[in-house]
C-alpha cells in the first residue's frame, strides 16, 4: 500500500490519470472497431512531428527561465527559413536541410534578443514570454503580407503579393525525413527517418547538457545564487539557453511541416506553445526541472491521447469530444504545474 502511495506521490495524480486514460483508450480501441495499427502509427507520427518542439522546453527550464511560452518566436524563425528556402527554389530532400540552415541565423538572433529581454524581467518570465510569442506572431502577420516574396507557389494568385495562409511543401521537402527507412506493415507505418532525426536532436541536447556550459546552465536553474558564487555568468547562461530553445523551436516546426505537408503562416503558430508545454509537464517535468525522458514520455502520452480520443470516443458515445478533452487536459496540466508548491523551498 505504501509502495503504491509512493508511486502515486512520485508520478502525481494528473500524470497517472492521463496514463491510465490513454491505456484504457488503447484497450477500448478494438471494441470500438478502431484499428490498433493505424492508431499506433498515427501516434508515432505525431510523436515525431511534435517531439522536437517539446524538446525546445528543456534548455529554458534547465536554466530557470520557466516554461517556454515564447515558442512561437522559434517557430517564426523556422517559418522564415522554410519560406526563404522555397523562394530560393531549392527542392527535394536537400531543401529540408537548407531550410534548417536558413532558419538558424534567425533563431539565434531572435533567441538572443528574447533572452536578453527575459534577463531583464526575472521572475515574470512566463507571462511575458506568452505575450512576446503572441506579439511576434501578430507582427509577422503583417510581415507575411509585406515581405517581397515572389515564388508563385507561395503568394496569393490573384494579387501577386502577400503569402498564402497555408503553403504546400510538396515537391520541396514533403516527407523528406519520414520516408527515410520508412517501414510499412499493413496499416502500420513507421516514420523511421523522422524518429531517428528526433533521436539525434535529443542526443545533441543531452550531449550539450553534459558539457561544462550545459552543467553551468543546469546549476543556474537549480540555484542561481550558488552558480554566481561559483563564478558563472547567470545572464549569459540564460541567454544561451533561450537561444537554444528558440533554435529547437525552429527545427521543430520544419520537421513538423515535412510530415504534415504544409507551412502554416499568419495565426498558425499562435497557440503552438501550449501543447508543447502541456506535453513536457505530462511527461513528468516541473516548472524548474526537466529531462529528455520527460520529453519522450510526455510527447508520446499527449499525442497518444490526441490521436486516440477522436476515433475511440466517436465510435463509443457518438460524440466527438476530443477538442474539449484536449483543452481540458493540456491546460489542466499546466495549471497543476503552476500551482504546485516548489519543492525544496522549505
Amino acid at each position: 500500500m505504501t509502495f503504491l502511495n509512493r508511486i502515486i506521490e512520485k508520478t502525481g495524480w494528473p500524470r497517472l490519470i492521463i496514463a491510465l486514460f490513454l491505456l484504457s483508450l488503447f484497450i477500448m480501441a478494438p471494441f470500438a472497431e478502431v484499428k490498433i495499427g493505424t492508431s499506433l502509427s498515427d501516434t508515432l507520427i505525431r510523436f515525431g512531428m511534435n517531439g522536437i518542439m517539446v524538446l525546445a522546453m528543456v534548455p529554458m527550464i534547465h536554466s530557470g527561465c520557466g516554461l517556454n511560452f515564447g515558442l512561437p518566436l522559434g517557430i517564426i524563425a523556422g517559418l522564415l527559413g522554410a519560406t526563404i528556402t522555397i523562394e530560393l527554389g531549392a527542392t527535394g530532400t536537400s531543401s529540408f536541410f537548407i531550410a534548417l540552415l536558413l532558419a538558424t541565423p534567425f533563431a539565434l538572433v531572435f533567441g538572443w534578443g528574447y533572452g536578453n529581454l527575459l534577463n531583464r524581467v526575472k521572475g515574470n518570465e512566463m507571462m511575458i514570454a506568452t505575450y512576446v510569442g503572441f506579439s511576434s506572431v501578430a507582427f509577422m502577420c503583417m510581415m507575411w503580407l509585406l515581405l517581397p516574396f515572389s515564388s508563385p507557389t507561395m503568394v496569393w494568385g490573384y494579387e501577386g503579393v502577400g503569402l498564402r495562409t497555408t503553403i504546400s511543401v510538396e515537391g520541396f521537402y514533403l516527407h523528406a525525413l519520414s520516408n527515410i527507412f520508412a517501414v510499412r506493415i499493413g496499416t502500420f507505418l513507421l516514420p523511421t527517418g523522422m524518429l531517428l532525426f528526433m533521436g539525434f536532436i535529443c542526443f545533441l541536447v543531452w550531449a550539450f547538457l553534459h558539457t561544462k556550459t550545459g552543467t553551468a546552465m543546469t546549476a543556474v536553474g537549480s540555484n542561481p545564487v550558488f552558480a554566481r558564487a561559483s563564478g558563472v555568468n547567470i545572464d549569459r547562461m540564460r541567454t544561451i539557453s533561450v537561444m537554444l530553445s528558440t533554435w529547437l523551436g525552429a527545427v521543430g516546426i520544419i520537421v513538423y511541416q515535412q510530415s504534415f505537408g504544409f507551412i502554416q503562416l499568419y495565426m498558425g503558430p499562435f497557440y503552438m506553445a501550449f501543447p508543447a508545454v502541456a506535453a513536457i509537464l505530462i511527461g513528468g517535468a516541473s516548472v524548474n526541472k526537466a529531462s529528455i525522458m520527460n520529453v519522450l514520455i510526455g510527447a508520446f502520452l499527449f499525442q497518444g491521447i490526441l490521436t486516440m480520443t477522436p476515433s475511440v470516443m466517436n465510435s463509443i458515445i457518438q460524440m466527438d469530444m476530443s477538442e474539449v478533452i484536449r483543452i481540458i487536459v493540456s491546460n489542466g496540466m499546466i495549471l497543476y504545474a503552476l500551482t504546485r508548491v516548489k519543492k525544496g523551498a522549505h
Binding site: 506568452t130 505575450y131 506579439s135 503583417m142 509585406l146 501550449f274 483543452i327
Partner: protein, 369 residues
Amino acid sequence: MLKKDKDNVIKFLETNLVPILFVIIIAFALPLSGFSIRYLFNEIIVRLVRNLFLVLALLLPIMAGMGLNFGMVLGAMAGEIGLIFITDWNITGLNGLFLAMILSIPLSVLLGWMCGKILNRAKGREMVTSYILGFFMNGVYQLVVLYGMGSIIPIASDSIVLSRGYGIRNAVNLTGIRQSLDRLLPVKIGTTLIPVATFALIAILCLFIIWFRKTKLGHDMRAIGQDMAVAEASGIDVAKTRIISIIISTVLAGFGMVIYLQNIGTMNTYNSHEQVGMFSIAALLVGGASVNRAKIGNAILGVVLFHLMFVISPMAGKNLIGQAQLGEYFRVFVSYGVISISLVLYAIRKQRDRTRAGIALADAQEVPE
C-alpha cells in the same frame, strides 16, 4: 529646480509611455482613415457603452496586488450562461437582462472563489495562472454548453440548440433583450444616440469603486497589494481578502458581459468571452494603467484610445497600402504588443527599483577619505 522639472517630465513620460504611443499612432492614422468626426464620436460612444463596465471590473484585483485578472473570462462565461437561459425561457426586455445578471451571480461567485483559491496557491505568478485558468475553464465551458446543454441540462428552445439535438449553437440571437438597456433612456445629440441608462449604470459602478476604496475592506486590499507579509502580520486575513477581490471582479465581469452582449445583440457562444478578456486588459493598459496601479480614468481613456485605434486601423491600412487586412493584423499586433510592453515595463521598473534601493544604500555609506 530645473533638474527637478526634467526629472518630473521623464517620470511622466515613463508612466504614460503607452497612452502617448497610442495618441501618436492615432494622430498618424486618423487622417489616413478618412472617417468623419461624427462617425468616430458615434463609434466611441458605442464602444464605451459596450466595454467600459468590463474594463472597470479589472480594477479591484489590481488594487489587491494580484495583477491583471485574466480570470475575468470566468465571469464573462457566467454572464453568457445567464443569457442562454433567459433566451431559452424567452424572457425579454429589461426583465430578461436583469434576470441574466442575477443568474450569473451564483455562478460568478463560485468561479471567482475557485479562481481565488487557485491563485492563492500560485502567489507571485497570479497572472500566468489566471491566464491558463481562463483557457482551462473555456474547456469546461465548452463541455457544459456544447455537450451538456440540451442533453443533461434541459433546453427547450430549438432556435438555440444545434440541429443534432444537444449543444448550443455557435451564434445565439439575443433579439429579446437587444439594446433593452441602451434604449431605456435615449438622448440624442446631433445624430448620435446616447444611451443614458447604460451610462448611469456605469456611473454607479464608478461610484461604487470610489466608495469601496474608502471602506475597511478596500483599505485592506490596498494594504495587501503593497506587502502581503506586513498585512498578514497586522492581522488582516490575506488569503480571504484576495479571494473576495477576485469574486467581486468576476461578478462585475459577468454583469459587464451581459451589458456588452445586449449592445451587440448576438452572442458568439464559444468566442466572445476569450476576446473580451484580452481586449479589456489591453484597453486598460492603453489608458496608462500598469500591473499594480489602475484608476477609473485609465479605464475610460483606455477604452477611447484603444477602440479608436481599433476602428480606424483597417481603413488606414487600406488607404495606406491598399490592404485592409494589414490594418486588421496591425490592430491585433497592437493589442498584444501593448500588453507585452506594459508587462515588460512593469517588470523592469520593479527590478530597477530594487537595484536603485541598493545603490542608494551604497551611496549612503561613508566614502572613505
